[in-house]
């Protein structure tokens, strides 16, 4: 469903050019929960920002279903972000002035698709993610885990093709992290959502179907879950990262 081909991206700083993504190619299938791991500076967030079209790419192609994202106009991109993509950020990015329920409905309000089904969908998402009791509260009145579950519900309200999550558990304790991961799993299982998540956290990544490990802007390896237990999969991820660290040291 998502196909990234030969993606290159570099930044200029103090007259020097740094290549952050070097010819990255990957694909994500419908209903798949894919994680991206790698050390700081490996290009995880840049890859996510390129797929989100938040930043322009130097070269390469990003196709979501049959749509080439890199050639879209400003207005087409806005529609794409609203209807086909869902976003979950590390620091939640909720509107402080809106209630939890209003925040969830915001993508529909922006697209002026505000019929009765919008409220029903928001209420259903609140139910599914266990945030019904706080739906009339403001972000300042709820916990970090609840904020992130609200953000996931918001990302799902337009039934997007792909949810992009950037370090969604980065600001959360282990209990809240688990609750957020559960919302992703529920989203995949209940709504058939496709999730692409950048993370540092091997625990969060161990719930993915597949994890892509980046090193210095290139794909170092891909590890499949292949019906292993979660602990085994996490060990495999940690082992891969350890080997990569040793290779770096050499």
């Amino acid at each position: 469903m998502l196909a990234v081909q030969n993606l290159k991206k570099s930044y200029c700083a103090s007259k020097a050019t740094y290549e952050v993504l070097k010819d990255v190619s990957l694909s994500v299938n419908k209903g798949e929960f894919v994680g991206v791991m790698g050390p700081s500076g490996s290009g995880k967030t840049t890859l996510l920002n390129c797929i989100s079209c938040y930043i322009p790419v130097d070269s390469g192609s990003i196709r979501l279903e049959e749509i080439e994202l890199t050639t879209l106009t400003e207005d087409e991109l806005a529609t794409m972000r609203n209807k086909k993509l869902g976003f979950v950020f590390q620091d939640f990015m909720l509107m402080d002035g809106l209630t939890v329920r209003d925040n969830i409905m915001l993508p529909r309000i922006i697209s002026r698709n505000t019929d009765k089904s919008m409220e029903d969908a928001a209420d259903q998402l609140c139910d599914v993610f266990g945030i019904e009791v706080i739906k009339d509260k403001y972000p300042a009145e709820i916990s970090g885990g609840e904020k992130q579950r609200t953000a996931v519900a918001r990302a799902l309200i337009n039934e997007p093709l792909l949810i992009l999550a950037d370090e969604p558990t980065g600001n959360l304790d282990s209990r809240s992290s688990r609750a957020v991961i559960d919302t992703f799993l529920q989203a995949r299982d209940s709504f058939g959502a496709t999730i692409f998540m950048a993370t540092h956290d091997s625990f969060a990544a161990s719930f993915c179907d597949r994890v892509i490990i980046l090193r210095d802007g290139k794909i170092y390896c891909e590890i499949l879950q292949l019906k292993k237990t979660r602990n085994e999969f996490q060990d495999k991820l940690l082992n891969a990262i350890r080997i990569m660290g040793e290779a770096n040291a050499e």
Binding site: I55, D96, G97, D102
Partner: protein, 716 residues
């Protein structure tokens, strides 16, 4: 909530303080500027401020400073608003809102804010001016002449400033929306400004540039005029102050980034210093504006103490209680009539002297001007008959003053004032004296030593024989009687003084209703060239001078500028405020406007610092910082925002002011010393007021940051 407008309404409600801050800043800026221009362009003020005079230039200079200050301030407030808006806008864009949608929404919001606040500011500017003026009239002096009238032109200037504010807001909006990198927008509120390394030499270099720039700026015009014989355009000489501005910037930058105390208390103040550093450019820009406004405000504030000290000194040093002069062709009061009037008013005249003086032509330098694109140049040409001076024979001088001056035949002595403060206004270099009727010429040699008598300042004294010779054949219109007398209990003779003044005015013909600069010899010379004399009653209105009217004898314009205005100590002292009210009230008003701008800016800046750094204070709390530590940190930050620019502005303007006084005549007179002391008293009083504002602001900021009130109260 079902529509985007409802969402925006909810967000506006939640974040209303940001809207209030922006609207408040626009409102205050336009209000202050409107009030200023209403006053500056008021016919009440313009009638009193001489065209092209220093007072008008000073008013305009401080106006420019205020406009710059308010302009930078509103730009700063708009920057804060867009910084707040960036997060909200970033989320909308991330969720699929189009830029057009957001631009339309923001345009609507900004239109309402800017038009509403600017219109309100412009509308209330006039009532504010009227109100302050009304208070002045109630407190100081209230006459019909002082009623404030408004000029429609003022509103054009206020409108121009409002247009600037609105245009600036929309320019910033357009720039804000154009930024295509969504991530930058999303993380804008977390972005900090970085400041480049500032060499420690900036401190000393800044001081040198500041001092040198001020000297250069002040001395360049007189150098151009005196040495190069060139009147450069004012804009050109203003450029010479640029090194001073650069120096001020460097001093403030060094203060904010490096601090003056090397390594001392480095760890104690590490948090406030680092917070100030990371808002470096913005902080220094604000400080520049505050420092310049403080300087302008004090410059206006010094006008009143300097003027009143000078006047008090003048009244105290007058050697006679009553003095007046009149042209001898006027049917003026005789000594008997004056004594009769005094007797009717219960006033005892102790001594009385009346002497005749003569208006004679003298030689001098005439400046022939040539105007080109680079300003006006002049060549000085010595003329045997250039202007007139008033002459006394030595015996008359002695009779009037009680001195025993003996002027040698063939010489001439100039009379200066007692402390020499006005000596630049006269000259002692007269070598030829001409009788304007007979055209007879007397060659004289100027005496180096001058006579000192403030009552006869500017007069020239000749040997009796020379005087008799040169004045032979003069008609009465070229002769002026000078009357001096003293009375018992001078300060209780106001009624007599007033009556005498009125009678003198009533007995004067229209021929002598002329300005003090009127020179009959210059009039003849000008008319000989076939030109009109600008101070001639027939032509002065065409040159922009209001006709002096005897029925307006109480008006400031009449009492300040009538050539034959009597000098009665009791009258001048009692009516001083009334006569100079427009000047005094104008400069007090300007000071109020500038200080109001300073207070609004430092208060807003302090509050926004608290808001933007609230997270840092929370983090410090989490790291275990005590209330005491947090309070010291806040105090250090707020005190820097307040005191660095205010102190800098105060020191710069005090030094500049003293420099002006010194360079006027190369020394400080007693009157100037007294004036400086009074100015310092004003500085102390205003500093106390600003300190009060600082304390209130500190308390407010501590409350906003939830820093323990008991502690902060105990220690403030």
């Amino acid at each position: 909530m079902k529509s985007l407008s409802q969402v925006h309404a909810a967000l506006r409600h939640k974040n209303r303080r940001h809207y209030v801050l922006l609207a408040g800043c626009c409102f205050f800026s336009v209000l202050l500027i409107t009030a200023y221009v209403c006053m500056m362009r008021s016919p009440t003020v313009l009638n009193v401020l001489p065209e092209g005079g220093d007072s008008r230039k000073q008013v305009m200079m401080i106006f420019v400073l205020t406009v710059i200050g308010c302009g930078v301030f509103t730009t700063y407030a708009s920057g804060l608003f867009f910084r707040y808006k960036s997060r909200e806008t970033g989320i909308f864009i991330a969720l699929g809102a189009s830029r057009r949608q957001l631009k339309n929404q923001l345009t609507r919001e900004l239109l309402i804010i800017s038009l509403g606040s600017c219109s309100l500011g412009a509308l209330l500017g006039t009532p504010l001016t009227w109100l302050i003026w009304r208070v002045f009239r109630l407190v100081l002096v209230d006459t019909e002449e002082k009623a404030l009238t408004f000029n429609a032109q003022a509103y054009l200037l206020a409108l121009a400033f409002s247009v600037f504010v609105i245009a600036m807001l929309f320019f910033m909006l357009s720039h804000f929306i154009r930024r295509i990198n969504v991530m930058d927008v999303v993380y804008e509120s977390r972005k900090t400004e970085s400041i480049r390394e500032v060499p420690r030499s900036y401190g000393l270099l800044g001081i040198i540039l500041l001092a040198g720039g001020v000297l250069l700026g002040y001395l360049t015009p007189s150098f151009c005029i005196k040495v190069l014989h060139w009147y450069p355009p004012e804009g050109l000489t203003s450029i010479t102050y640029l090194p001073a501005l650069l120096g001020l910037y460097m001093v403030l930058l060094h203060t904010v980034v490096n601090g003056w105390r090397r390594d001392k208390n480095r760890y104690k103040n590490i948090i406030p210093s680092s917070m100030m550093k990371f808002q470096g450019r913005q902080t220094v820009r604000n400080m520049m504006v505050i420092a310049m406004l403080v300087a302008g405000a004090y410059f206006a504030s010094f006008y009143v103490p300097m003027m009143s000290t000078g006047a008090t000194n003048d009244f105290n040093t007058r050697t006679v209680d009553y003095a007046f002069s009149y042209r001898e062709d006027q049917d003026m009061l005789t000594e008997t009539e004056i004594r009769q009037m005094a007797s009717e008013e219960g006033v005892t005249i102790k001594s009385y002297a009346e002497q005749s003086s003569a208006v004679l032509g003298v030689d001098g330098w005439e400046y022939v001007e040539n105007t080109s694109n680079l300003g006006t140049t002049y060549t000085a040409e010595h003329k045997e008959l250039q202007r007139s001076e008033v002459f006394l024979p030595e015996s008359s001088y002695n009779a009037l003053t009680g001195d025993f001056v003996d002027v040698a035949p063939g010489t001439i002595m100039a009379v200066y004032d007692d402390d020499g403060s006005n000596r630049r206004l006269t000259t002692k270099d007269v070598t030829l004296v001409t009788n304007p009727i007979t055209k007879q010429v007397l060659h004289v040699t100027p005496v180096e030593n001058v006579l000192r008598n403030s009552m006869l300042f500017g007069y020239k004294v000749l040997d009796d024989t020379d005087y008799a010779l040169i004045t032979e054949g003069l008609t009465d219109e070229w002769l002026e009687a000078k009357v001096f007398f003293n009375v018992e209990n001078d300060m209780e003779t106001y009624a007599f003084a007033k009556r005498l003044f009125y009678v003198i005015v009533d007995k004067s013909s229209l021929e002598v209703a002329v300005y003090d600069g009127y020179d009959p010899v210059v009039k003849i010379l000008t008319e000989e060239k076939g030109e009109n004399y600008f101070l001639d009653r027939e032509h002065q209105e065409a040159y922009g001078y209001e006709l002096l009217n005897y029925s307006q004898r109480e008006a400031s314009n009449f009492r300040l500028f009538w050539k034959y205005m009597p000098q009665f100590r009791v009258l001048d002292e009692a009516d001083y405020i009334k006569t100079h009210a427009v000047f005094l009230m104008l400069f007090i008003f300007i000071a109020i406007i500038c200080f109001a701008a300073v207070i609004v800016i430092v208060y807003t800046r302090s509050l926004t610092i608290a808001l933007t750094n609230a997270q840092v204070y929370d983090d410090l709390r989490h790291l275990g910082a005590s209330n005491e530590y947090l309070w010291h940190t806040v105090r250090s930050q707020i005190s820097k925002v307040f005191f660095v620019p205010i102190l800098t502005g105060t020191i710069v303007i005090c030094t500049f002011y003293m420099m002006i006084l010194y360079f006027n005549d190369g020394s400080f007179t007693n009157s100037e010393f007294a004036g400086i002391l009074n100015c310092l008293a004003v500085v102390a009083a205003i500093s106390a007021l600003l300190y009060g504002v600082y304390r209130l602001t500190l308390r407010k900021v501590c409350a906003m940051l939830r820093i323990h009130k008991a502690y902060s109260t105990k220690h403030t």
